[in-house]
């Protein structure tokens, strides 16, 4: 980690590279001086299944992390490319396709160590599942795309791998009824004509739900081959879950994560969010405090 901190240094533009799998998710701007690229340390350094926490370098690939955890029947539900890095996934802050059940990716993080613009290591959060000691800088860092600091090491919370997973599909089904009637579906996809549902848990409970009235028009199917992330989606947009009703009724918009509000699109939809002026002021001030010379990932544009 100290090597990484030295590489980041304290002067000159610098960028952090991960697995390069989410480049299309990040808005960029032109920069005059090309930043040097550094990579975070990798490796699973501490894992105790009975603690349900794992400590690893931010450069660790999901493939490596998944393999270590799977051996103990646990997982961290990132659901991104195998080549993606833990740090990259957290920095971009996009949740995987099972967010409906497992929550936002930011809530998987317990502790972070990052290298700041001064080249120093900062620790935030704590090693335990519950912790409220000081400001929650971990949440600030997730989704900041490296512009406030480069993640070096994280402690993540793990969950048990479910006993069983079953996919179902149906045409002309109201996906919002499924959100309301199923207990904790892991994913519900809709594209305007077809609906797919993933239910995980005890096999008998899945069978019982499959027999329920809400699922009467759904039939079991193989796991889809088009699950995001996938190259066919070139953009994703973010909506209120309730807005998906209107969007889907209006015709095919792409692949919607019902109950979550994310839509994966096959055609380019150039969008960058526009926060309120008060929030822009807060975010600019945060950036100015933590990276006064704007040297960290200068090419990234968040708003």
């Amino acid at each position: 980690m100290l090597r990484f901190a030295r590489e980041v240094g304290s002067e000159g533009p610098v960028a952090v590279g991960g697995g390069g799998t989410q480049a299309s998710s990040v808005n960029v701007r032109e920069v005059t001086n090309e930043p040097r690229v550094v990579t975070a340390p990798a490796g699973v350094w501490e894992y105790e299944p009975s603690e349900m926490t794992v400590r690893c370098g931010a450069g660790t690939t999901l493939a490596e992390l998944d393999a270590v955890l799977a051996a103990a029947g646990q997982m961290v539900p990132f659901d991104q490319h195998d080549d993606a890095t833990v740090g990259g996934v957290l920095a971009v802050g996009h949740s995987g396709y099972r967010r409906l059940r497992y929550g936002h990716v930011r809530d998987l993080v317990l502790q972070t160590r990052h290298v700041d613009a001064a080249g120093e290591v900062v620790t935030a959060g704590g090693p335990t599942v519950k912790n409220v000691s000081g400001y929650d800088l971990c949440r600030l860092l997730v989704g900041s795309v490296g512009t406030l600091g480069f993640l070096a090491e994280v402690i993540l919370r793990c969950v048990p791998v479910p006993l069983a997973q079953r996919w179902f599909t149906g045409a002309g089904v109201d996906p919002f009824e499924l959100v309301a009637k199923l207990y904790r579906p892991s994913a519900i996809f809709a594209d305007g004509s077809d609906v797919w549902v993933l239910i995980e848990g005890h096999p008998d409970d899945i069978d019982a739900e499959a027999r329920s009235h809400a699922m009467s028009a759904m039939t079991p199917c193989d796991p889809p081959t088009w699950l995001p992330p996938d190259d066919r989606y070139v953009a994703r947009t973010s909506h209120k879950p309730s807005e998906l009703r209107g969007l889907l009724a209006g015709g095919s918009i792409g692949l919607a994560e019902v109950g979550v509000g994310v839509v994966h699109r096959a055609t380019e939809t150039h969008s960058i969010g526009a926060p309120t002026s008060a929030n822009i002021a807060l975010m600019e001030a945060t950036k100015a405090k933590l990276d006064p010379t704007r040297r960290l990932n200068p090419h990234v544009r968040l708003w």
Partner: protein
């Protein structure tokens, strides 16, 4: 002050100078607004008069977060108790900060939902307080702490501006300032409207009580339950003294000869819960449990929980005052830290009762004492320091639930280095450069180059 309830009467101010901690401050002006606009106006007046302010929910905080120091005007949210829009598609409800935690879950029952964070004080504590403290509760191992259940916050910033942090859409743009605000203990502004995430009520619940005649077997059973692939909705442990005290008060049927009991709650769907119940029973027996009892119905379930939830109140039967500690340690070190807790209590001639959220290693040693005894409070603080040090040394944290507030502010250096604290302070300055919002809390003085207000705990406040 404009249109809001303002209290300046002597007898009431005493109440507002205190919270659930042993700390006391000085309240000379207390406001009880009902709207966001009133909160905004009050903070503006405070700024114009150079007075800091402290927001107060129900005042149940245990770390002094709501104790007014440095001349802070108290802004109580007690009258901001309306539940607004409930949207089942978005799975959120907008609630004002004065809504009480359990009242919210009760109001959501008709639509089959609840608010997952369930602190032991949930009958009294407010949502605003839950946000300020990133509150936990027994169900947080499975469901997450408060921050995971807050979609958006309307806040009055120390600058007087009103803004919404976070949002209902899937991925709000920019930095997660909402996440930063949760757990900031009133130092970044005041939340005036809160979009809470709704959690569906589980169709099946099972509650078990397992008794052990050896504390380390009980603690080992906790780890084994997790390692078996279960995430219980709650996993609570109580030591022998806690059991004796609780049983005398609540008559919940706890075995008073047990060295420790585990209260386990499992929820979800019927087959999964049934399988998990069997697993927990098997694990308990494998760790030489002397008795494993599964609650037969809701009434028995409520009785088992009555014991646990009344532990703090029951402690008053030993001596009139108590100091409740709150640390979290890795589950594997629970027994070591417990030994250190007993040793610290013995060394300072104090009685200690232990209840804890064993599932996430959150310890609540309760030191029982009589504040009227000369020197008692000093002994309590000395024992407390030893407990905190032992917890951090074991790889734990400073606070699992209660926050830093005033009480643990000066212990932050045990957990964070100078640069870590400087970074936290820098972020605080973004929101509150002039130090109006709940000054002197969370970050130890000396981390900042300058403090607008007194550096020390002022006259009238005792620790």
């Amino acid at each position: 002050m404009l249109g809001a309830d303002v209290r300046t009467g002597e007898s009431e101010l005493g109440l507002y100078g205190r919270d659930g901690s042993v700390l006391r401050g000085n309240a000379d002006v207390v406001c009880l607004p009902t709207t966001t606009e009133q909160v905004r106006q009050i903070t503006e007046i405070c700024r114009n008069h150079g007075r800091p302010f402290v927001a107060r929910g129900s005042g149940t905080g245990l770390a002094g977060g709501a104790v007014p120091v440095a001349g802070s005007v108290v802004i109580s949210t007690a009258k901001m108790n309306r539940i607004g829009e409930i949207n089942l598609d978005d799975r959120i409800a907008w609630v004002q900060p004065g809504v009480l935690n359990l009242d919210l879950s009760r109001a959501l029952a008709p639509v089959g939902m609840h608010f997952a964070p369930d602190p032991s004080s949930q009958q009294v504590c407010s949502l605003g307080g839950n946000v300020a403290n990133n509150s936990g509760g027994p169900h947080c191992l499975a469901y997450g702490v408060t921050t995971a259940h807050i979609a958006a916050l309307e806040v009055v910033l120390p600058s007087g501006e009103v803004t919404v942090l976070g949002g209902i859409e899937a991925d709000p743009v920019g930095y997660d300032l909402r996440g930063l605000f949760v757990g900031s203990e009133g130092t970044l502004g005041i939340a005036t409207n809160i979009a809470v995430r709704l959690t569906p009520n589980p169709p099946a619940v099972a509650t078990l009580l397992a008794a052990f005649d050896d504390v380390s077997e009980g603690a080992a059973a906790v780890g084994a339950i997790i390692a078996a692939g279960l995430v219980p909705a709650a996993l609570e442990m109580m030591d022998q003294r806690a059991i004796e005290v609780v049983e005398a008060f609540a008559h919940a049927g706890y075995p008073t000869d047990a060295a420790a009991v585990l209260l386990v709650e499992l929820d979800g769907q019927p087959a999964g819960v049934a399988a998990a119940t069997q697993t927990v029973t098997d694990v308990a027996n494998a760790h030489h449990a002397t008795d494993v009892r599964v609650a037969a119905d809701d009434a028995e379930r409520a009785l088992l929980w009555k014991g646990r939830k009344n532990a703090f109140g029951a402690v008053a039967r030993i001596k009139p005052d108590y100091y409740l500690h709150d640390t979290v340690v890795p589950r594997s070190r629970l027994v070591d830290v417990l030994d250190a807790v007993y040793a610290a209590a013995d060394a300072h001639d104090l009685v200690v009762v232990n209840v804890f959220h064993a599932g996430d290693g959150n310890l609540h040693p309760i030191l029982s004492f009589d504040a009227r005894e000369p020197g008692a409070l000093e002994r309590v603080h000395a024992a407390g320091r030893a407990i905190i040090a032992a917890s951090i040394e074991a790889g734990g944290v400073l606070s699992g639930e209660h926050g830093i507030g005033l009480e643990k502010r000066d212990y932050m250096e045990l957990m964070f280095g100078a640069h870590d604290l400087a970074t936290q302070d820098a972020v605080r300055e973004v929101f509150d450069p002039d130090g109006f919002a709940n000054p002197l809390k969370v970050i130890p003085s000396g981390s900042r180059c300058s403090d607008s207000f007194s550096q020390h705990v002022p006259e009238g406040a005792w620790v």
